[in-house]
Symmetry: C2
Subunit: 209 residues, 2 copies
Amino acid sequence: MTGRRSAADALETRAAILRRAADVASVEGLDGVTIGRLAADLQMSKSGVIGHFGTKEQLQLAALDYAAERFRVRVWEPVHHLRPGLERLLGVCASWTAHAAAPEFVGGCFIAATSYEWDGRPGSVHDALAAVTDRWRRTLAGEIKRAIAAGDLAADLNPDALVFSLESLAAGINPARQLHGDTEADTWALRAMHTLLGVPAPTVAATAS
Amino acid sequence: MTGRRSAADALETRAAILRRAADVASVEGLDGVTIGRLAADLQMSKSGVIGHFGTKEQLQLAALDYAAERFRVRVWEPVHHLRPGLERLLGVCASWTAHAAAPEFVGGCFIAATSYEWDGRPGSVHDALAAVTDRWRRTLAGEIKRAIAAGDLAADLNPDALVFSLESLAAGINPARQLHGDTEADTWALRAMHTLLGVPAPTVAATAS
DNA sequence: CCTACCGATCGGTAGG
DNA sequence: CCTACCGATCGGTAGG
Protein backbone atom coordinates (compact mmCIF):
# COMPACT_ATOMS: atom_id res chain seq x y z
CA MET A 1 0.00 0.00 0.00
CA THR A 2 2.92 2.35 0.56
CA GLY A 3 6.38 3.14 -0.74
CA ARG A 4 7.64 2.91 -4.32
CA ARG A 5 5.60 1.01 -6.88
CA SER A 6 6.16 -0.11 -10.46
CA ALA A 7 6.66 2.14 -13.44
CA ALA A 8 3.20 1.20 -14.73
CA ASP A 9 1.67 2.21 -11.41
CA ALA A 10 3.53 5.50 -11.58
CA LEU A 11 2.11 6.23 -15.04
CA GLU A 12 -1.37 5.47 -13.76
CA THR A 13 -0.88 7.83 -10.85
CA ARG A 14 0.41 10.49 -13.21
CA ALA A 15 -2.66 10.11 -15.42
CA ALA A 16 -4.97 10.35 -12.40
CA ILE A 17 -3.25 13.57 -11.32
CA LEU A 18 -3.67 15.08 -14.80
CA ARG A 19 -7.34 14.09 -15.00
CA ARG A 20 -8.00 15.71 -11.65
CA ALA A 21 -5.93 18.79 -12.60
CA ALA A 22 -7.95 19.21 -15.81
CA ASP A 23 -11.21 18.93 -13.88
CA VAL A 24 -10.10 21.53 -11.36
CA ALA A 25 -8.78 23.85 -14.07
CA SER A 26 -12.02 23.62 -16.06
CA VAL A 27 -13.83 25.06 -13.04
CA GLU A 28 -11.35 27.38 -11.37
CA GLY A 29 -8.72 27.90 -14.03
CA LEU A 30 -5.14 26.70 -14.09
CA ASP A 31 -4.48 28.98 -11.13
CA GLY A 32 -6.82 26.90 -9.03
CA VAL A 33 -4.69 23.84 -9.59
CA THR A 34 -2.55 23.81 -6.44
CA ILE A 35 -0.31 20.97 -5.44
CA GLY A 36 -1.79 20.71 -1.96
CA ARG A 37 -5.31 20.54 -3.30
CA LEU A 38 -4.56 17.79 -5.78
CA ALA A 39 -2.79 15.88 -3.02
CA ALA A 40 -5.81 16.14 -0.74
CA ASP A 41 -8.27 15.20 -3.51
CA LEU A 42 -6.21 12.16 -4.51
CA GLN A 43 -5.24 11.25 -0.95
CA MET A 44 -1.55 11.61 -1.67
CA SER A 45 1.23 13.70 -0.21
CA LYS A 46 2.23 16.94 -1.93
CA SER A 47 5.64 15.56 -2.78
CA GLY A 48 3.96 12.54 -4.32
CA VAL A 49 2.06 14.85 -6.64
CA ILE A 50 4.80 17.24 -7.62
CA GLY A 51 7.37 14.46 -7.95
CA HIS A 52 5.81 13.48 -11.28
CA PHE A 53 6.32 16.91 -12.78
CA GLY A 54 9.05 18.81 -10.95
CA THR A 55 7.40 22.19 -10.74
CA LYS A 56 3.88 23.52 -10.75
CA GLU A 57 4.46 25.10 -14.15
CA GLN A 58 5.43 21.73 -15.62
CA LEU A 59 2.29 20.26 -14.10
CA GLN A 60 0.22 23.00 -15.75
CA LEU A 61 1.87 22.34 -19.11
CA ALA A 62 1.22 18.60 -18.73
CA ALA A 63 -2.45 19.27 -17.89
CA LEU A 64 -2.73 21.42 -21.01
CA ASP A 65 -1.22 18.64 -23.13
CA TYR A 66 -3.64 16.16 -21.61
CA ALA A 67 -6.65 18.40 -22.31
CA ALA A 68 -5.47 19.10 -25.86
CA GLU A 69 -5.26 15.36 -26.51
CA ARG A 70 -8.76 14.84 -25.08
CA PHE A 71 -10.03 17.66 -27.31
CA ARG A 72 -8.47 15.97 -30.33
CA VAL A 73 -10.07 12.64 -29.43
CA ARG A 74 -13.51 14.14 -28.88
CA VAL A 75 -13.67 16.77 -31.63
CA TRP A 76 -11.30 15.79 -34.42
CA GLU A 77 -11.18 11.98 -34.29
CA PRO A 78 -14.93 11.45 -34.89
CA VAL A 79 -14.76 13.44 -38.14
CA HIS A 80 -11.23 13.04 -39.49
CA HIS A 81 -12.37 10.20 -41.73
CA LEU A 82 -14.85 12.49 -43.52
CA ARG A 83 -14.03 13.92 -46.92
CA PRO A 84 -11.60 16.88 -46.60
CA GLY A 85 -13.20 20.26 -47.25
CA LEU A 86 -16.77 21.29 -46.53
CA GLU A 87 -18.00 17.90 -45.36
CA ARG A 88 -15.30 17.54 -42.73
CA LEU A 89 -15.57 21.22 -41.78
CA LEU A 90 -19.28 20.87 -41.02
CA GLY A 91 -18.52 17.69 -39.12
CA VAL A 92 -16.04 19.58 -36.98
CA CYS A 93 -18.61 22.29 -36.24
CA ALA A 94 -21.07 19.63 -35.08
CA SER A 95 -18.64 17.64 -32.93
CA TRP A 96 -17.13 20.84 -31.52
CA THR A 97 -20.41 22.32 -30.33
CA ALA A 98 -21.50 18.91 -29.05
CA HIS A 99 -18.22 18.67 -27.14
CA ALA A 100 -18.89 22.05 -25.49
CA ALA A 101 -22.47 21.13 -24.61
CA ALA A 102 -21.53 17.80 -23.00
CA PRO A 103 -18.05 18.49 -21.63
CA GLU A 104 -15.96 15.70 -20.18
CA PHE A 105 -14.50 17.97 -17.49
CA VAL A 106 -16.83 19.18 -14.77
CA GLY A 107 -16.35 22.89 -15.50
CA GLY A 108 -16.65 22.65 -19.28
CA CYS A 109 -14.08 23.05 -22.03
CA PHE A 110 -10.57 23.28 -20.57
CA ILE A 111 -9.10 24.90 -23.67
CA ALA A 112 -11.73 27.65 -23.79
CA ALA A 113 -11.52 28.40 -20.08
CA THR A 114 -7.72 28.53 -20.12
CA SER A 115 -7.54 30.65 -23.27
CA TYR A 116 -9.59 33.42 -21.70
CA GLU A 117 -7.77 33.09 -18.39
CA TRP A 118 -4.23 33.10 -19.67
CA ASP A 119 -4.27 35.26 -22.80
CA GLY A 120 -2.92 38.34 -21.03
CA ARG A 121 -0.15 36.72 -19.00
CA PRO A 122 3.41 36.11 -20.12
CA GLY A 123 5.25 32.84 -19.72
CA SER A 124 5.45 29.28 -20.93
CA VAL A 125 1.78 28.42 -20.25
CA HIS A 126 0.68 31.33 -22.46
CA ASP A 127 3.08 30.20 -25.17
CA ALA A 128 2.02 26.55 -25.02
CA LEU A 129 -1.63 27.58 -25.13
CA ALA A 130 -0.97 29.76 -28.17
CA ALA A 131 0.80 26.85 -29.86
CA VAL A 132 -2.02 24.39 -29.18
CA THR A 133 -4.78 26.73 -30.37
CA ASP A 134 -2.71 27.83 -33.32
CA ARG A 135 -2.42 24.25 -34.51
CA TRP A 136 -6.18 23.89 -34.31
CA ARG A 137 -6.68 27.17 -36.16
CA ARG A 138 -4.46 25.99 -39.01
CA THR A 139 -6.44 22.75 -39.27
CA LEU A 140 -9.68 24.70 -39.53
CA ALA A 141 -8.27 27.22 -42.00
CA GLY A 142 -7.06 24.33 -44.14
CA GLU A 143 -10.52 22.81 -44.36
CA ILE A 144 -12.05 26.18 -45.19
CA LYS A 145 -9.52 26.83 -47.95
CA ARG A 146 -10.11 23.36 -49.41
CA ALA A 147 -13.86 23.99 -49.40
CA ILE A 148 -13.39 27.32 -51.15
CA ALA A 149 -11.05 25.79 -53.72
CA ALA A 150 -13.62 23.07 -54.39
CA GLY A 151 -16.31 25.69 -54.96
CA ASP A 152 -18.30 24.51 -51.92
CA LEU A 153 -17.86 27.83 -50.12
CA ALA A 154 -18.00 31.35 -51.55
CA ALA A 155 -14.66 32.57 -52.87
CA ASP A 156 -14.90 35.92 -51.09
CA LEU A 157 -14.96 34.40 -47.59
CA ASN A 158 -12.01 35.28 -45.34
CA PRO A 159 -10.63 32.03 -43.82
CA ASP A 160 -8.89 33.75 -40.90
CA ALA A 161 -12.01 35.73 -40.03
CA LEU A 162 -14.10 32.56 -40.19
CA VAL A 163 -11.71 30.67 -37.93
CA PHE A 164 -11.94 33.50 -35.41
CA SER A 165 -15.74 33.45 -35.51
CA LEU A 166 -16.07 29.67 -35.19
CA GLU A 167 -13.66 29.70 -32.26
CA SER A 168 -15.51 32.51 -30.50
CA LEU A 169 -18.90 30.84 -30.93
CA ALA A 170 -17.67 27.48 -29.67
CA ALA A 171 -15.98 29.09 -26.66
CA GLY A 172 -19.08 31.12 -25.86
CA ILE A 173 -21.13 27.99 -25.19
CA ASN A 174 -19.35 27.53 -21.86
CA PRO A 175 -20.39 30.77 -20.11
CA ALA A 176 -23.79 30.80 -21.81
CA ARG A 177 -24.64 27.49 -20.19
CA GLN A 178 -23.04 28.10 -16.82
CA LEU A 179 -23.86 31.74 -16.33
CA HIS A 180 -27.27 31.95 -17.98
CA GLY A 181 -28.52 28.38 -18.19
CA ASP A 182 -28.70 28.52 -21.99
CA THR A 183 -29.12 24.82 -22.69
CA GLU A 184 -29.64 25.60 -26.38
CA ALA A 185 -26.39 27.54 -26.77
CA ASP A 186 -24.74 24.71 -28.70
CA THR A 187 -27.59 24.71 -31.21
CA TRP A 188 -27.39 28.49 -31.58
CA ALA A 189 -23.62 28.31 -32.06
CA LEU A 190 -23.89 25.60 -34.71
CA ARG A 191 -26.57 27.54 -36.61
CA ALA A 192 -24.50 30.73 -36.49
CA MET A 193 -21.49 28.82 -37.81
CA HIS A 194 -23.55 27.62 -40.79
CA THR A 195 -24.85 31.12 -41.42
CA LEU A 196 -21.34 32.58 -41.43
CA LEU A 197 -20.16 29.83 -43.77
CA GLY A 198 -23.10 30.60 -46.04
CA VAL A 199 -24.47 27.06 -46.02
CA PRO A 200 -27.99 25.82 -45.11
CA ALA A 201 -28.96 25.38 -41.47
CA PRO A 202 -27.95 22.04 -39.93
CA THR A 203 -30.48 19.25 -39.75
CA VAL A 204 -31.68 18.44 -36.25
CA ALA A 205 -30.12 15.00 -35.86
CA ALA A 206 -26.84 15.83 -37.57
CA THR A 207 -24.81 14.78 -34.53
CA ALA A 208 -25.32 11.73 -32.39
CA SER A 209 -22.07 11.18 -30.48
CA MET B 1 0.93 62.42 4.94
CA THR B 2 -0.30 59.82 7.42
CA GLY B 3 -3.26 58.90 9.61
CA ARG B 4 -6.96 59.51 8.86
CA ARG B 5 -7.93 61.88 6.09
CA SER B 6 -11.18 63.40 4.86
CA ALA B 7 -14.16 61.52 3.47
CA ALA B 8 -13.37 62.88 0.01
CA ASP B 9 -9.82 61.57 0.24
CA ALA B 10 -11.17 58.21 1.32
CA LEU B 11 -13.42 58.04 -1.75
CA GLU B 12 -10.49 58.87 -3.98
CA THR B 13 -8.43 56.13 -2.40
CA ARG B 14 -11.30 53.71 -2.83
CA ALA B 15 -11.57 54.59 -6.52
CA ALA B 16 -7.82 54.15 -6.99
CA ILE B 17 -8.03 50.69 -5.41
CA LEU B 18 -10.87 49.70 -7.74
CA ARG B 19 -9.08 50.96 -10.83
CA ARG B 20 -6.01 48.98 -9.90
CA ALA B 21 -8.11 45.91 -9.03
CA ALA B 22 -9.83 46.06 -12.42
CA ASP B 23 -6.48 46.32 -14.19
CA VAL B 24 -5.09 43.34 -12.32
CA ALA B 25 -8.27 41.31 -12.86
CA SER B 26 -8.26 42.03 -16.60
CA VAL B 27 -4.86 40.34 -16.82
CA GLU B 28 -4.88 37.63 -14.15
CA GLY B 29 -8.54 37.29 -13.31
CA LEU B 30 -10.37 38.22 -10.14
CA ASP B 31 -8.35 35.53 -8.37
CA GLY B 32 -5.20 37.47 -9.04
CA VAL B 33 -6.55 40.44 -7.11
CA THR B 34 -4.96 39.89 -3.70
CA ILE B 35 -5.06 42.40 -0.90
CA GLY B 36 -1.32 42.32 -0.37
CA ARG B 37 -0.62 42.92 -4.02
CA LEU B 38 -2.94 45.90 -4.27
CA ALA B 39 -1.36 47.30 -1.11
CA ALA B 40 2.13 46.97 -2.59
CA ASP B 41 1.10 48.45 -5.95
CA LEU B 42 -0.60 51.42 -4.29
CA GLN B 43 2.01 51.81 -1.54
CA MET B 44 -0.54 51.27 1.20
CA SER B 45 -0.89 48.79 4.04
CA LYS B 46 -3.09 45.74 3.58
CA SER B 47 -5.50 46.95 6.26
CA GLY B 48 -5.73 50.28 4.43
CA VAL B 49 -6.87 48.43 1.31
CA ILE B 50 -9.30 45.98 2.84
CA GLY B 51 -10.72 48.58 5.23
CA HIS B 52 -12.68 50.09 2.34
CA PHE B 53 -14.46 46.85 1.57
CA GLY B 54 -14.46 44.55 4.58
CA THR B 55 -13.67 41.30 2.83
CA LYS B 56 -11.95 40.24 -0.36
CA GLU B 57 -15.26 39.08 -1.79
CA GLN B 58 -16.78 42.53 -1.25
CA LEU B 59 -13.74 44.02 -2.98
CA GLN B 60 -14.29 41.67 -5.94
CA LEU B 61 -17.95 42.65 -6.14
CA ALA B 62 -17.02 46.35 -6.02
CA ALA B 63 -14.46 45.85 -8.80
CA LEU B 64 -17.13 44.15 -10.89
CA ASP B 65 -19.51 47.06 -10.32
CA TYR B 66 -16.79 49.48 -11.28
CA ALA B 67 -15.98 47.59 -14.50
CA ALA B 68 -19.68 47.29 -15.38
CA GLU B 69 -20.08 51.05 -15.05
CA ARG B 70 -17.02 51.65 -17.24
CA PHE B 71 -18.46 49.23 -19.83
CA ARG B 72 -21.72 51.18 -19.80
CA VAL B 73 -19.88 54.48 -20.27
CA ARG B 74 -17.74 53.18 -23.12
CA VAL B 75 -20.19 50.96 -25.00
CA TRP B 76 -23.72 52.11 -24.27
CA GLU B 77 -23.39 55.83 -23.59
CA PRO B 78 -21.92 56.71 -27.02
CA VAL B 79 -24.94 55.16 -28.78
CA HIS B 80 -27.89 55.47 -26.39
CA HIS B 81 -28.99 58.66 -28.12
CA LEU B 82 -29.41 56.81 -31.44
CA ARG B 83 -32.85 55.77 -32.65
CA PRO B 84 -34.04 52.63 -30.80
CA GLY B 85 -34.01 49.49 -32.94
CA LEU B 86 -31.63 48.62 -35.76
CA GLU B 87 -29.75 51.92 -35.79
CA ARG B 88 -28.88 51.74 -32.09
CA LEU B 89 -28.19 47.99 -32.32
CA LEU B 90 -25.61 48.51 -35.06
CA GLY B 91 -24.15 51.37 -33.03
CA VAL B 92 -23.74 49.02 -30.08
CA CYS B 93 -21.98 46.44 -32.25
CA ALA B 94 -19.53 49.11 -33.41
CA SER B 95 -18.81 50.61 -29.98
CA TRP B 96 -18.61 47.15 -28.41
CA THR B 97 -16.01 45.77 -30.81
CA ALA B 98 -14.10 49.08 -30.65
CA HIS B 99 -14.14 48.81 -26.85
CA ALA B 100 -12.65 45.32 -27.02
CA ALA B 101 -9.98 46.37 -29.52
CA ALA B 102 -8.86 49.38 -27.45
CA PRO B 103 -9.52 48.26 -23.89
CA GLU B 104 -9.16 50.68 -21.02
CA PHE B 105 -7.78 47.97 -18.70
CA VAL B 106 -4.35 46.59 -19.47
CA GLY B 107 -5.51 42.99 -19.91
CA GLY B 108 -8.56 43.74 -22.05
CA CYS B 109 -12.26 43.52 -21.29
CA PHE B 110 -12.83 42.83 -17.60
CA ILE B 111 -16.37 41.53 -18.13
CA ALA B 112 -15.32 39.03 -20.80
CA ALA B 113 -12.31 37.79 -18.83
CA THR B 114 -14.31 37.38 -15.63
CA SER B 115 -17.24 35.67 -17.34
CA TYR B 116 -15.06 32.89 -18.67
CA GLU B 117 -13.15 32.66 -15.39
CA TRP B 118 -16.06 32.55 -13.02
CA ASP B 119 -18.88 30.82 -14.91
CA GLY B 120 -18.30 27.45 -13.27
CA ARG B 121 -17.87 28.58 -9.67
CA PRO B 122 -20.62 29.06 -7.13
CA GLY B 123 -20.99 32.12 -4.93
CA SER B 124 -21.87 35.77 -4.92
CA VAL B 125 -19.33 36.79 -7.57
CA HIS B 126 -20.86 34.29 -9.99
CA ASP B 127 -24.34 35.57 -9.20
CA ALA B 128 -23.38 39.24 -9.55
CA LEU B 129 -21.67 38.51 -12.84
CA ALA B 130 -24.76 36.70 -14.10
CA ALA B 131 -26.90 39.68 -13.07
CA VAL B 132 -24.67 42.22 -14.80
CA THR B 133 -24.44 40.27 -18.05
CA ASP B 134 -28.14 39.41 -17.94
CA ARG B 135 -29.02 43.10 -17.82
CA TRP B 136 -26.87 43.70 -20.89
CA ARG B 137 -28.43 40.72 -22.67
CA ARG B 138 -31.92 42.10 -22.07
CA THR B 139 -30.87 45.48 -23.45
CA LEU B 140 -29.57 43.82 -26.61
CA ALA B 141 -32.58 41.55 -26.98
CA GLY B 142 -34.84 44.60 -26.64
CA GLU B 143 -33.11 46.38 -29.52
CA ILE B 144 -33.27 43.27 -31.68
CA LYS B 145 -36.99 42.80 -31.01
CA ARG B 146 -37.66 46.45 -31.80
CA ALA B 147 -35.77 46.13 -35.08
CA ILE B 148 -37.75 43.01 -35.99
CA ALA B 149 -41.05 44.69 -35.08
CA ALA B 150 -40.10 47.67 -37.26
CA GLY B 151 -39.36 45.35 -40.17
CA ASP B 152 -35.67 46.26 -40.19
CA LEU B 153 -34.60 42.72 -39.35
CA ALA B 154 -36.01 39.42 -40.63
CA ALA B 155 -38.97 38.13 -38.60
CA ASP B 156 -37.56 34.60 -38.34
CA LEU B 157 -34.43 35.66 -36.43
CA ASN B 158 -34.11 34.29 -32.89
CA PRO B 159 -33.29 37.21 -30.53
CA ASP B 160 -31.82 34.99 -27.80
CA ALA B 161 -29.62 33.15 -30.27
CA LEU B 162 -28.44 36.46 -31.73
CA VAL B 163 -27.61 37.87 -28.31
CA PHE B 164 -25.55 34.75 -27.60
CA SER B 165 -23.67 35.10 -30.89
CA LEU B 166 -22.95 38.82 -30.52
CA GLU B 167 -21.69 38.24 -26.99
CA SER B 168 -19.43 35.37 -28.03
CA LEU B 169 -17.93 37.31 -30.93
CA ALA B 170 -17.24 40.38 -28.79
CA ALA B 171 -15.67 38.30 -26.03
CA GLY B 172 -13.54 36.41 -28.54
CA ILE B 173 -11.67 39.56 -29.54
CA ASN B 174 -9.71 39.45 -26.30
CA PRO B 175 -7.94 36.09 -26.70
CA ALA B 176 -7.61 36.52 -30.47
CA ARG B 177 -5.56 39.65 -29.95
CA GLN B 178 -3.56 38.49 -26.94
CA LEU B 179 -2.97 34.87 -27.90
CA HIS B 180 -2.64 35.14 -31.67
CA GLY B 181 -1.92 38.80 -32.37
CA ASP B 182 -5.08 39.17 -34.46
CA THR B 183 -5.17 42.95 -34.68
CA GLU B 184 -8.11 42.72 -37.08
CA ALA B 185 -10.26 40.60 -34.77
CA ASP B 186 -12.56 43.53 -33.96
CA THR B 187 -13.24 44.07 -37.67
CA TRP B 188 -13.93 40.36 -38.19
CA ALA B 189 -16.27 40.32 -35.18
CA LEU B 190 -18.19 43.37 -36.42
CA ARG B 191 -18.57 41.88 -39.92
CA ALA B 192 -19.78 38.57 -38.49
CA MET B 193 -22.33 40.42 -36.36
CA HIS B 194 -23.71 42.13 -39.45
CA THR B 195 -23.83 38.84 -41.34
CA LEU B 196 -25.75 37.13 -38.54
CA LEU B 197 -28.16 40.08 -38.34
CA GLY B 198 -28.65 39.84 -42.10
CA VAL B 199 -27.65 43.43 -42.80
CA PRO B 200 -24.97 44.80 -45.18
CA ALA B 201 -21.33 44.83 -44.10
CA PRO B 202 -20.28 47.86 -42.05
CA THR B 203 -18.59 50.78 -43.76
CA VAL B 204 -14.93 51.19 -42.91
CA ALA B 205 -15.14 54.42 -40.93
CA ALA B 206 -18.36 53.62 -39.08
CA THR B 207 -16.74 54.10 -35.68
CA ALA B 208 -14.33 56.82 -34.65
CA SER B 209 -14.43 56.91 -30.85
C1' DC C 1 -5.20 55.12 7.46
C1' DC C 2 -0.98 52.53 10.26
C1' DT C 3 1.90 48.50 12.73
C1' DA C 4 1.93 44.10 14.36
C1' DC C 5 0.21 40.01 14.44
C1' DC C 6 -2.85 35.39 13.68
C1' DG C 7 -3.57 30.59 11.49
C1' DA C 8 -3.76 28.58 6.96
C1' DT C 9 -1.91 27.59 2.67
C1' DC C 10 1.30 28.29 -1.04
C1' DG C 11 5.45 26.00 -3.97
C1' DG C 12 9.13 23.43 -3.10
C1' DT C 13 13.12 20.58 -0.78
C1' DA C 14 15.74 17.15 2.25
C1' DG C 15 16.14 12.73 3.35
C1' DG C 16 14.48 8.35 3.31
C1' DC D 1 5.89 7.29 -2.93
C1' DC D 2 6.24 9.20 2.42
C1' DT D 3 7.16 12.64 6.64
C1' DA D 4 8.89 16.77 8.08
C1' DC D 5 10.19 20.95 7.20
C1' DC D 6 11.47 25.82 4.79
C1' DG D 7 10.31 30.91 3.71
C1' DA D 8 6.69 33.50 1.50
C1' DT D 9 2.16 34.91 0.99
C1' DC D 10 -2.73 34.45 1.75
C1' DG D 11 -7.20 36.81 4.07
C1' DG D 12 -8.18 38.94 8.00
C1' DT D 13 -8.07 41.15 12.94
C1' DA D 14 -6.61 43.96 17.19
C1' DG D 15 -5.57 48.15 18.64
C1' DG D 16 -4.46 52.64 17.80
